[in-house]
Symmetry: C2
Subunit: 451 residues, 2 copies
């Protein structure tokens, strides 16, 4: 393989879970002798993610247009690992200069509106190429296409992903620790109605019911999980070529019992991010909890909470989860201000931080139903489990970083011909990425289920 163009690759963002992205790209840059630039607003973060001799760390504030332009000029592909709301500006400039872009973030309306511009300029902006979104698309669409190519019809599609802690290390009653952005966990499910289609019927779940409408999923060798629905399962029907599918449901996996306990926090109002509480600097965990309960001079906060949420005496697993996060403690929160969601996150981080030696785990599960030649319903399950190696080489870093790095190289090697702002759902993209992922142990196991 020869590199037709000696221009470089720039990765903006060197956060903790970009480890494999940088590892993979730096090995590639070294092999092909071009410069991989690692930029971050924090130069030390950038330096820590420089692995080969061809990697160069740069301090970059993307609001400094001149510096950004100068840096971009020598690139062929830019990978943006910025927070989602900061992508747009970088993508706009890249299209303008004529640079391909790859990100692991959701394709939003603003970026979508750049599609024609990018296409006109012969530029590809490859979005949603991480884990979820990312590997879910690659693997789902490959399965769907292979059924459709036999002239058969996919009638039902369900898909769940979870970023969890590996079994041996799930040592708290929730069997959960923060392996990814804690804020996303705390506000999960907010910001829009949850909608999906089941057996041809549209279904809608308000946030305050979301964590009580779970499904149980069993994965060979890893036990049971429970899944709650993602916000908008409908939007991928077209992307996946499943316009008249009867069931389309995408969800998030947790260990059994998590969702019912989490719902208690939702019911109390602790996940609300829309207003700040007063007097946070003087507040204890217990005061925080009591803010959401009726005033009563005689009853304990514990009893008021039990009665309010109707937690019976014999629901000891649920109660143990509630107690375990320290909601009744008299310790100070330790923030000067904050929304309920920010305060809850802070309290949870005291208990749910990964400890030395803890390993994380990624679980993904698809279920497809289709009609075979005889009109008989058939069902396939596909599952992926990835365990992290250590605190740095996490499963999250692998499953986000590898597909994005491989996709970036496809762009760099001009192997993706589709132009505009696209998702990784065409053969030219998903086949090479899935094949390469298998080399790193990211491999689905499929089962045909008796139906």
């Amino acid at each position: 393989m020869s590199i037709s163009n000696r221009d470089g690759i720039l990765v903006i963002g060197a956060g903790r879970s970009t480890y494999h992205l940088h590892k993979y790209l730096s090995a590639y840059a070294e092999k092909h002798d071009f410069t991989l630039t690692v930029a971050d607003i924090d130069i030390r973060a950038a330096e820590s993610m420089c692995f080969g001799q061809n990697s160069v760390a740069v301090q970059l504030d993307i609001s400094q247009e001149e510096q950004l332009h100068k840096l971009l000029r020598s690139q062929k592909v830019v990978v943006s690992m910025l927070p989602a709301h900061l992508h747009f500006e970088v993508i706009r400039v890249c299209i303008d200069i004529g640079i391909h872009v790859a990100t692991a973030s959701y394709l939003n309306e603003d970026v979508k509106n750049l599609h024609d511009l990018a296409k006109g300029k012969g530029i590809t902006v490859l979005n949603e190429l991480g884990l979820d979104p990312g590997i879910d698309h690659l693997s789902a669409v490959k399965m769907i296409h292979s059924i459709q190519e036999q002239g058969l019809k996919v009638t039902h599609f369900e898909s769940f992903t979870g970023g969890l802690v590996a079994p041996q290390y799930d040592t708290n009653p929730w069997k959960y620790k923060f392996t990814w952005n804690p804020r996303n966990v705390v506000v999960a499910g907010q910001g829009g109605i949850v909608k999906f289609i089941q057996e041809g019927q549209y279904k809608f779940i308000p946030y305050h019911k979301l964590f009580r409408r779970t499904e149980v999923i069993q994965i060979e060798g890893y036990g049971k999980f429970e899944g709650y629905a993602n916000r908008d399962s409908l939007k991928y029907r077209e992307t996946y070529g499943l316009n008249d599918v009867l069931t389309m449901y995408r969800g998030t996996l947790r260990r059994p019992g998590f969702c019912k306990a989490w719902d208690c926090l939702v019911q109390l109002g602790m996940t609300d991010d829309s207003y700040e509480l007063p007097r946070v600097d003087q507040m204890t965990h217990r005061d925080f909890t009591n803010s959401f309960l009726a005033y009563n001079p005689n009853d304990s906060v514990e009893l008021k909470l039990r009665q309010y949420l109707k937690i019976d005496q014999d629901e000891s697993d649920l109660w143990e989860r509630i107690e375990s996060i320290g909601l009744f403690n008299s310790e100070k929160i330790g923030l000067t201000r904050g929304t309920p969601a920010q305060i809850l996150q802070h309290i949870l981080q005291k208990k749910w931080a990964l400890e030395d030696g803890d390993k994380d785990m990624i679980v993904m599960w698809h279920k497809l139903k289709y009609s075979d030649e005889a009109g008989q319903s058939r069902e396939i399950h596909a599952s992926l489990v990835v365990i992290g190696d250590d605190e740095r080489a996490t499963a999250m870093s692998k499953t986000v970083g590898y597909p994005l790095a491989i996709g970036t190289i496809l762009l760099f090697e001009d192997k993706i011909l589709e132009r505009g702002c696209i998702l990784p759902v065409s053969k030219e993209i998903y086949n090479p990425i899935l094949t390469e992922l298998e080399r790193y142990g990211i491999r689905f196991s499929e089962t045909e289920v008796d139906y």
Copy 2:
């Protein structure tokens, strides 16, 4: 009394419940021989609210600046009965030209920001002068001031208002009919956290718990009511001169059982106004209900709803309320599109419309605690009940229209000296209005309660 200035009064808005406002002002205009202009975008509405020979109907589209300016030029006071979000522009122009304004709407941030401008121009914008907000302020502040003037301290304040149907006519299981804007009833409690202070402790109720945290209130001769909390009870602490009050709680009254049944609709997600449902034109009431319930090919919508909301077999009053609004009917909704809240409103309007001969009822109730000279706690209750005369002369129209009309005349007669964007909480405003209201049977009865 002489009218120092023969300029006119303009009322913008001639909706159904402006009857007494126009009645009162037209009698005044006739007595003092000046022109009362009644403007509405619908000229027939304006004409229907012209009562004396001094009233003139005008068709007005407030977005037509030139026409608005021309009309304003001959006015001394403008009353805006526009929807709340349309006030700002009219108020801005009035301040600019030098015209006082009165409204029955909440003083919002935009209007508040005009305070200095209005003050500088010597203009008064008198806000929140209807029923609630309006009579609640007048009556509460009068009670509070009379206690404070004795050198005593108000420690607790609670206030509830309800726009209901009069006892004889409350002929459905909810004992509720729409006597006011139905949309406000359907989305009540949304758009911000519910907060109040109780015994010095700040309390917060998320929307999905609001209708389960009610208080029961008994009013002599009218039986029991239940109250749920208004959004922000805290903001009137300063307005009422109660900065260090221990309890400050404002709420809305319904008949007992309403709130628990309403909560079922909230739990299902039927009051959500943030997204549109698909295929509404083909939808029956039953389909609508089923959109919020899990798919199951065998169970009935009724049973799924019972199970989801944990409505036991013996909760027959609650179940009767749910059934009575037709949620399980197979009739078409009759809209082509809509949010859940819009659809629910449409369904409820089929059942909760006032019938010929129905009378409405306004109920207001205050509870104050204060410490007497001996440091002893004392408690006063004050209640107001107003029953409508007929479909046109409703209690709502009286209790919104009279205070606003009387306040408008105070402005017209230069009897209000306070300038800027203000609330009706000073003696010069509440005393004359409350005195005049008594002539129309709007009179509180106070009781000192043993404590």
